[in-house]
């Protein structure tokens, strides 16, 4: 029987993978994917806690729906920016974005 522990474990694992992905990626697109992982880990948490801890209200699920919507908007904007910088630098590698420094 899947209990709350499993869900929390799953979400923590997802969160760590996403975090690891964010910190080590060279490629901007892979970065976006890792961000999605983190957001979905949070969603899992929200839904699981709603189901197991506060079944009365649907607050957790409603919020996770919102999160999905907003996450989509965020990645759209992210992609726009990455495309616009790609058009200028012909590369999406994060190391190339180093004109602004010191």
């Amino acid at each position: 029987m899947i209990s709350l522990g499993h869900f929390v474990a799953l979400s923590t694992v997802l969160f760590c993978i996403g975090l690891f992905g964010v910190l080590t990626q060279r490629n901007a697109i892979r970065f976006l994917i890792s961000i999605e992982l983190i957001l979905n880990a949070a969603n899992i948490n929200l839904v699981a806690f709603n189901r197991y801890l506060a079944p009365a209200s649907a607050e957790g699920q409603v919020v996770s729906l919102f999160v999905i919507g907003v996450a989509a908007a965020a990645s759209v904007v992210g992609l726009i920016l990455i495309i616009s910088i790609y058009r200028q630098r012909q590369s999406v590698f994060l190391d190339d974005f180093n004109l602004l420094k010191w």
């Binding site: 975090l19 910190l23 994060l94 190391d95 974005f97 420094k101 010191w102």
Partner: protein, 607 residues
């Protein structure tokens, strides 16, 4: 009639400002302004003298400053010592100023000279009039300033400039002693007035120290033993200046100070003894140097130091009247000698007595007056020098200290010796100089004659024929004074012996090879010692301090700013511009925060 005394210094002071501001326009008239002012002062001094005889006394004018709760008031002291000094300063001053009209004839800064002389007169007169030590110190420094300005009057000559500064600094060293004495007296005795100088009940050693410190000021000003080096160099100034300041008045201020604070010194025998010893040393040492000096003004300068030493010896040996009497007579005949020397230099344009000779028949008046002055100085019987020097010898004899008496005797002997040597070399034999010597104009010779008159007859007022009028006038409390015939004879014998030996050795004076007696010829190497001990270390220390300041202290300041800049430079390079670094930093920050907080939570076991 006495309380007009405080106007005496004001006239020369006004003359000073007149000459300074309108000097250029007044031209020669500035001399008349100065002479007029000091003449008026002389008349006022005479009136005050009459007032004193008819029972006048000291009086105070206004409270001036309160220090440590005790008021210092501007007071005027009118007693025999002051009046004697007033008369001496004004009379000699006026005569010398008349003389310097001729002597300073063509000088471009004629009016500036008379301005300084008037300022000197006013501060000297102020010095003898004020009734407390603090105001005396003010006039004391004023006098020192004027001596520096006048010595360095021809400041184009580097030697004159250096001599002026040397004079001011050396006297200032002494004055600092006086300054500390004043502070000590104020902190212990709470009063600086001369009248209650003797009655201060304070711990013995402190009062002795105060007396010694005050004496240190006198030593500086009267060019006594340790601080005498400035007087011979001060001869760089015009001879009239040397006559007025470095012979008659200013150098006597030291003796005046000791005489004025005499109750303080007599209350502490140790202080009195030091005065005597210092006087003796200066007298003998200066006299010995004078015997070998070849510059006419240097001879007279060293003779002044030795005569002042004699006066200090007299005072130190308890002979208050002797010291003051010699002070008065010495002022006149030493001024005469200097003015005579001035007239000689004016004629032959050289100061080296070996290049003179045979002036007697060329400059009749100057030579005659000069010889009278010399005899008075040597202490030959009827002249003024004999009476006052005899007083001192009797005082030293009664004092009982045999060493001091020997010093006094040798000084008298040497004085007679070098004065005769001077006269023989300068006025007799054949003329060795290049210039055609001619007698000085009347304006210069007239003061010589008047001074010669004083040199001849001034002594008599202290002689038994005038039943010791001067002694009774100067120290009424000391009771009857008798002339010690034996001592009078002895001093005459000593004087004649001195003259005789000089007469016998006259042949050897000219072919005397310099270097035969290096110690005395080089003036006991005082200048070199002081230079090595004080001047050079002072410069070295100043340079060291400036370098320390520039490198060390500034170094620290610049160091701090440089290291702050370095830290800033380092922290700036944290911004690498690479996104990964930023993300790692952020995630790292979160991780560190979590770890720290859980630890902190565990520590204060909140969880």
């Amino acid at each position: 009639m006495v309380n007009i005394a405080h106007f005496i210094p004001l006239f020369p002071f006004a003359a000073f400002w007149l000459n300074i501001i309108f000097g250029r326009r007044l031209g020669v008239a500035s001399a008349y302004v100065a002479v007029g002012a000091s003449a008026i002062s002389a008349v006022l001094a005479w009136l005050v003298f009459q007032g004193l005889l008819s029972g006048g006394g000291s009086y105070t004018l206004t409270p001036w400053l309160t220090v440590n709760g005790h008021p210092i008031t501007l007071g005027i002291i009118v007693d025999s010592l002051t009046v004697m000094m007033l008369l001496v300063v004004t009379v000699v001053g006026t005569l010398i100023q008349i003389y310097s009209i001729g002597y300073m004839g063509g000088d471009p800064r004629f009016s500036r000279y008379f301005a300084y002389i008037s300022l000197f007169m006013s501060s000297m007169l102020g010095l003898v009039l004020v009734d407390n030590l603090f105001l005396l110190y003010i006039c004391w420094e004023g006098v020192g300033l004027c001596s520096c300005l006048l010595v360095a009057f021809w400041y184009e000559k580097p030697a004159a400039a250096a001599a002026g500064i040397k004079a001011f600094i050396t006297t200032r060293v002494g004055d600092t002693g006086l300054f500390l004495g004043i502070l000590l007296l104020m902190s212990v005795g709470h009063s600086l007035r001369f009248s209650d100088m003797g009655v201060i009940n304070a711990p013995e050693p402190l009062m002795a120290l105060a007396a010694l410190l005050i004496f240190m000021g006198a030593v500086g000003k009267s060019a006594q033993f340790p601080l005498h080096v400035w007087l011979p160099d001060a001869m760089e100034g015009p001879t009239a200046v040397s006559a007025l300041i470095h012979a008659a008045t200013m150098v006597a201020a030291g003796v005046y100070l000791v005489a004025r604070c005499y109750p303080l010194f007599t209350a502490h025998p140790l202080a009195l003894q030091t005065v005597a010893v210092i006087g003796a040393i200066s007298a003998v040492m200066a006299a010995s140097i004078a015997c070998f000096a070849n510059d006419i003004k240097k001879v007279l300068a060293y003779s002044t130091i030795s005569q002042l030493g004699l006066m200090m010896l007299g005072l130190g040996a308890g002979g208050y009247t002797g010291g003051t009497f010699h002070l008065m007579t010495h002022a006149f005949f030493k001024a005469l000698l200097f003015l005579g020397a001035g007239s000689v230099i004016h004629a032959v344009h050289t100061q080296d007595i070996r290049a003179m000779g045979g002036l007697f028949n060329k400059m009749k008046v100057t030579s005659l007056t000069f010889i009278i002055g010399a005899l008075a100085l040597a202490g030959v019987a009827p002249l003024s020098g004999f009476w006052s020097k005899d007083e001192i010898l009797t005082a030293v004899w009664h004092h009982g200290n045999f060493g001091l008496f020997i010093a006094a005797v040798t000084t008298s002997f040497l004085t007679a010796f070098y004065m005769t040597r001077l006269i023989l070399l300068a006025f007799f034999g054949e003329y060795r100089g290049a210039h055609k010597a001619h007698e000085s104009p009347a304006v210069m010779t007239l003061p010589l004659v008047i001074l010669a008159f004083f040199a001849l007859f001034l002594g008599l007022i202290g002689s038994p024929w005038a039943h010791h009028a001067f002694q009774r006038f100067i120290a009424p409390a000391e009771g009857e004074v008798a002339l010690d015939i034996g001592m009078a004879v002895a001093s005459s014998v000593i004087a004649l012996a001195g003259i005789l030996t000089a007469f016998l050795l006259r042949g050897k004076f000219l072919e005397y090879k310099p270097g035969a007696c290096p110690l005395i010829e080089n003036k006991y190497y005082f200048d070199e010692i002081y230079d090595a001990l004080f001047v050079r270390p002072f410069h070295w220390l100043a340079a060291a301090v400036a370098r320390f300041d520039r490198e060390r202290v500034d170094g620290v300041v610049n160091g701090i700013s440089r290291c702050v800049q370095e830290i800033a430079q380092a922290s700036r390079s944290l911004q690498t511009g690479l996104v990964e670094n930023y993300l790692v930093a952020q995630a790292g920050g979160v991780f560190v925060l979590i770890v720290v907080l859980t630890l902190v939570g565990k520590l204060c076991h909140i969880f």
